[in-house]
Amino acid sequence: MKKIKATIASSMVLFAASAGASYADSLTLYCSAQEDWCQLMARSFEDATGIDVDMTRKSSGETFAQIRAESSNPKGDVWWGGTGDPHLQAAEEGLTMEYMSPMRDQLHDWAISQAESAGNKTIGIYSGALGYGYNTDLAAANNLPEPSCWKDLLKPEYKGHVQMANPNSSGTAYTTLASMVQIFGEDEGFEFMKGLHKNINQYTKSGSAPIKAAARGENTIGIVFMHDAVKQAVAGFPIKVVAPCEGTGYEIGSMSIIDGARNEDEAKQFYDWALSAEAQNLALQVNAFQVPSNTGAQTSDSAPDMSTIKLIDYDFKKYGSSDERKRLLRKWDEEVSVLPQ
């Protein structure tokens, strides 16, 4: 009997229900750039404003999946870094919110046009051109000629030496596919992908994996963003970076505020700060060789010189839309990936 009374009594006393959460000046940052850059951004923002930053680093695909899974109850406030496509897709699905930063007049045009193509729900923070890098030691050991154009990669001598990511799983590889379609036209672009398929030794899952494998000597040529290749070369690996002669596509690393953010004011504060020249100069400290979007920010000496690279007029609005994306990926799946190698 005693036990029953105790149960009842305690359940009466403890009959407390829901509770929410309140934060005192804190910010949850989802970061999709490299780890040390993310850390540096978070700590520097804390120093500059006194706002506590909780930072999670995940790849842009993983972060997009997380924001989507959390959409009915957002946990994150601001999403910084990572290639632009998932940011555009998030904007298209209404996962991120519109914001007009007062810092906009300090930015390059490409950063603003990225914002405009997404209804001002995202903005460009850096850009990087697509290209490839190769391991000079391995190329010499296999007597391979030095490649300098996209079409060079179709030569039969490179069979089994080229690596790129799978466009289904990587934004980098999708940018490659979309760039080829824009450089050569759709039909010839797919012919190029079919020719390339014969020389590919592996479609990796992650976008920058091919150049990392090349750095370690596990692969000869990796199709990646050039700043990723430069990073490996600066780290001491025998990597040579190539800006293909036909011209090339590029990515715009972006930033968005998550719709329904719990700390909206702090998120806007971070947004404005991250667009400042001072915040973008932090990239130099962590060997991030992307081109910053603030016109006043510095670019590293080792970074690929954008003025010498032939950039195509990449149509982010068209090729970032989920319909076009699905169509191209399905076509690649059906016409390219099934071919024997």
Binding site: A19, L138, N201, L329, Q341
Partner: protein
């Protein structure tokens, strides 16, 4: 509330009890707010009516059942019905309009209320005479069913439904069919040079890994028990290593040895003047890595069985003039069948669910576990496809489970009879002993080389490029500074390191506790639905971690149970991932304890809780130790579920290591892993001292 940290209690000082978000329900109802909580008062007050009645009164039982069921049911209904944006179901909106109501996740109050209602219900059921009116047993069954439903069935079912959801959110069978009959899943292109579907790849790989690990495990078991081999202890120690190794590490070591620029590859290529190839990437690499990782598991299963074969049977065969070879083939080997089947099953399931090795070494060889991961995080974000893949995977593992049962049949393999069983195992026949010992030694040597590489890899500057020795990776990860205020942990790895240790230390005892109670119910009690109950507790073992991770995110990010981004979700996921091992260990040792022990305790007037605590628990120390060690170690090395559940504040060691690997920072990743290996060795030793090594002998 959980969001601010379950242990912080900040809410107690922060506006409690008047701030609307923190206030207890009693205050809210009194103020006329959150009135949907008011009906809960009725079932809470109801039991007061019967406090003075005797337990045998039928009204007593009826009232308790009624109030328990009502309260529990209403609590769940309101939790799901009213979410963070008001009503969650359209028909509720239609019925009541769209008032401005909302509530966040449940906190302590709801947790205690739910527990209270549950136990009112079980006390009522017990009072009606179920299981001899035993309140402890009924409550334990009710409790385990409630938590398994909440943390296993609910998220998994939630996730699998996604397979039928169309793009606009309605349900349809054709969507499922389109995703199921996909060429990327079932294609047979590899027969003519293209690529095969992930389902065939996984199945093929898992069958081979199952066979190879079973055979290697058997070789080791035979060498240790039935040969004159001298360094048996070293062999045993070596086989424990892979269990405490974080994922990826074996894969990394293999790349450093056999990759295109690996030391062995380059050496052999120079020697024979051939072009090095990328043969490691794909099926061969995964096969080697998984065999290295899972052979010890097969060994641990088989050693018990091989030792358990009664020597008197073998002696009887030899007395009947069977040769050593005949004895082995017709007596010993058939008696090992349950062990062989179990070892194969474990190898099969582990290979199916393995995530780390295919990720590092997979090449173009797609398997289900990684495909599930990339269906969700990849650029395509196709949760439905992930759900379909998860179903296929689940189908394979469960079929293997039932095939194993069918193969073993109902034959008796009992050889430990309690009668005089002295005797020594005969040695293996010489014709067998030579190849078996050779295989075991070669594999042991190979394992040693791989681990040697791991340690070496952690102390070189930049593997393959600059091989000068350095401790800089350890310094980067684990440096400390001594300052006036005390020690400052300046290393990059400390954060995730302490989180991992804390989470593992919280999860391990809870896992052991739930596991042992479940094992007690399964071995000692009979109740309706016992088989389904057992299936439920074992289910999470057959489900790969990626599936668990995603399903947890989907199920627990929204009210009523809102725990994503906290440490709690990590602890919960570890408890239910590792529960089956606690249950198995408990069942194994409990079935060795004679039931007459319980009976005599019960006859002497103890109730079942006292019997469990005073009689059974002390005799279970080996099982407790096994469950504790296993769940601690697994909590430190798990990756596939964890990668979805970590957050800024709670980052785990393994996900930190993956980040380093992704960054091509192998030195730091390997240094961190090596440290973890030593920490786990120390922890296992410490647990052994704490729990104590009791000898359970009938006479001493």
């Amino acid at each position: 509330m959980v969001d601010g940290g379950l242990w912080s209690f900040e809410w107690l000082v922060d506006g409690y009890p008047f701030d609307e978000d923190y206030a207890p329900a009693a205050f809210l109802i009194a103020q006329g707010e959150k009135t949907w909580l008011a009906p809960l008062l009725v079932p809470l007050a109801l039991p007061l009516l019967v406090v003075r009645r005797p337990k045998s009164d039928p009204l007593f039982a009826r009232i308790l059942i009624l109030s328990g069921a009502l309260g529990f049911g209403w609590l769940i209904a309101q939790g799901f019905g009213i979410g963070i944006r008001g009503f969650t179901f359209d028909w509720l909106k239609a019925l009541f309009g769209e008032p401005r109501i909302r509530q966040f996740g449940m906190g302590y109050g709801a947790m205690f209320s739910a527990t209270a209602f549950l136990f009112l219900l079980t006390q009522g059921i017990a009072a009606r005479g179920a299981i001899n009116g035993d309140v402890f047993v009924v409550s334990a069954i009710g409790g385990v069913i409630a938590i398994v439903t909440t943390f296993v069935f609910f998220p998994i079912a939630n996730m699998l439904f996604a397979a039928f959801v169309t793009e606009d959110g309605s349900y349809s069978l054709t969507v499922f069919a389109a995703k199921f009959f996909d060429d990327r899943l079932w294609g047979l292109g590899c027969l003519w040079g293209a690529r095969c579907g992930a389902a065939w790849n996984s199945l093929f790989l898992a069958v081979i890994v199952g066979f190879v690990t079973t055979i290697l495990g058997l070789c080791f078991a035979l060498v240790v028990t039935r040969s004159g081999f001298r360094y048996k202890r070293a062999v045993r120690a070596l086989t424990v290593l892979p269990i405490i190794t974080p994922p990826f590490v074996i894969g990394l070591a293999l790349i450093l040895l056999f990759g295109l620029s690996g030391s062995v590859t380059v050496f052999l290529a120079d020697l024979f003047g051939v072009q090095p190839t990328r043969w490691l990437y794909g099926m061969p690499g995964i096969l080697i890595a998984q065999t290295l990782a899972f052979t010890p598991i097969a060994f641990l299963v088989l050693i018990g069985v091989v030792e358990g074969v009664s020597p008197s049977m073998e002696e009887a065969a030899q007395t009947l003039r069977a040769s050593r070879w005949q004895t082995f083939r017709t007596v010993s080997l058939p008696l090992m069948r349950p062990g062989l089947a179990n070892a194969f099953l474990l190898g099969f399931i582990e290979s199916m669910a393995d995530f780390g090795n295919p990720l590092v070494l997979g090449g173009n060889f797609d398997v289900l576990s990684t495909e599930i991961f990339f269906a969700i995080v990849g650029a395509q974000y196709d949760q439905g496809r992930a759900a379909v893949l998860a179903m296929v995977l689940l189908f394979f593992t469960l079929s293997a489970f039932y095939a194993q049962r069918a193969w073993l049949g109902r034959k008796s393999y009992t050889t430990v009879t309690g009668k005089g069983d002295a005797g020594v195992h005969p040695l293996m026949p010489t014709g067998l002993s030579m190849p078996v010992t050779t295989i075991a030694l070669v594999w042991a040597f190979f394992t040693a080389v791989v681990y040697g590489m791991i340690v070496y890899g952690s102390v070189v500057e930049l593997w393959g490029v600059n091989n000068s020795l350095t401790f800089k990776h350890y310094v980067t990860a684990f440096s400390v500074r001594f300052e006036e205020e005390g020690i400052r942990w300046t290393g990059a790895a400390w954060d995730s390191f302490w989180t991992t240790i804390t989470i593992a230390a919280i999860a391990a005892p809870l896992t052991a506790a739930v596991g042992l109670v479940t094992a007690y119910l399964l071995t000692r009690q009979n109740f309706a639905g016992k088989n389904a109950f057992e299936f439920g507790t074992m289910l999470s073992f057959a489900i790969p971690g990626t599936v668990i991770g995603v399903s947890y995110i989907l199920a627990f990010n929204v009210p009523p149970i809102e725990i994503t981004g906290t440490g709690v979700i990590l602890v919960v996921s570890f408890i239910f991932r590792n529960l089956p091992v606690g249950v198995r260990a408990g069942i194994a040792s409990m079935s060795q304890l004679d039931k007459s022990l319980d009976e005599s305790s019960l006859t002497l007037g103890a109730n079942s809780w006292q019997t469990f605590r005073r009689v059974i628990l002390p005799l279970l120390r080996p099982a407790i130790l096994a469950a504790l060690v296993y769940s601690f170690v697994r909590a430190m090395t798990a990756i596939s579920a964890v990668i979805f559940l970590v957050s800024a504040r709670y980052d785990m060691a393994t996900s930190y290591i993956i980040g380093r690997v992704e960054n091509n920072d192998y030195g730091l990743a390997i240094a961190y892993s090596t440290t973890l290996i030593f920490v786990m060795l120390a922890a296992v030793g410490l647990l052994q001292v704490l729990v104590g090594r009791v000898q359970i002998g009938r006479r001493s």
